[in-house]
């Protein structure tokens, strides 16, 4: 049930939170099998999704592998750096 008096508050809450993407860049060192493994083991992606993203990195030079609130995406980038991947943050417009 919704009351009219709640409407202004709902409008205020509807202000979109800026979203960020985690970008993984191609590099000449990490193995394709390792990159796919990282996507599966860290993000929990299925094999098909992980392979698709890995091939996107390999063939186009980069892939957005996750998006969401900045703090959460920074956590992902830090984790991917831990795996030795070339990961950066990019604002989503």
């Amino acid at each position: 049930m919704t009351f009219l008096s709640e409407a202004p508050e709902q409008t205020a809450q509807a202000t979109p939170t800026p979203r960020w993407a985690v970008i993984v860049w191609d590099d000449p060192v990490n193995l394709m099998s390792y990159v796919s493994y990282v996507f599966r083991s860290y993000f929990g992606y299925g094999r098909d999704r992980a392979e698709e993203l890995m091939m996107l990195v390999h063939t186009t030079g980069r892939a957005a592998v996750a998006d969401g609130a900045r703090e959460a995406m920074e956590g992902h980038v830090a984790a991917l750096h831990g795996y030795g991947l070339q990961a950066t943050l990019e604002p989503l417009s």
Partner: protein, 163 residues
């Protein structure tokens, strides 16, 4: 004498690979030297890590300040696992819980080996340029890549066997 190298195999507690004395020495000395390098120069790890915000140096610096210590500690721990390879040769045992860190450690050693002169594409290792130490580094890097790929295959095999 030569034999087809056998990669990691699944064991009751995790994974194992039979290394000869020379292979174990290479792995242990690389891991040990790299661990000392990081301990003495913690900022070195960050040099191999891209700017988190390519268009914002200040945000990248702040990100690095918050993450570099944890990254350095993790690297040292990963390299310590690699130093457990038996120097006399024999089975290098990796528990299931250690496998992820071992994969990271192997990858980090490959990043280190590639850093000073660039690395041939991992999928096209014959592409190389002149450098006296390069052939040795390239051979070691390819061997580390084989170790890494072999452990991933064992992990995948183990996962399949559990299903």
């Amino acid at each position: 004498m030569s034999a087809v190298p056998a990669g990691f195999r699944t064991t009751a507690s995790g994974y194992a690979i039979d290394l000869d004395r020379r292979e174990a020495e290479v792995l242990v000395s690389l891991a040990s030297d790299s661990g000392r390098l990081i301990t003495a120069n913690p900022e070195f790890v960050s040099l191999l890590t891209p700017d988190a915000y390519p268009d914002d140096p200040d945000a990248s610096d702040e990100f690095a300040r918050y993450t570099s210590d944890d990254l350095g500690r993790a690297r040292v721990a990963e390299l310590a696992l690699l130093q457990a390879a038996p120097l006399d040769g024999g089975d290098f045992l990796v528990t299931a819980a250690e496998a992820d860190d071992v994969l990271r450690g192997l990858g980090f050693l490959r990043l280190l080996l590639s850093d000073s002169a660039g690395e041939p594409d991992a999928e096209s290792p014959e592409d190389s340029s002149a450098d006296e130490s390069r052939p040795m580094r390239s051979a070691v890097s390819q061997w580390l890549a084989w170790l890494q790929e072999s452990l991933i295959a064992a992990l995948d095999g183990g996962a399949a066997a559990d299903e």
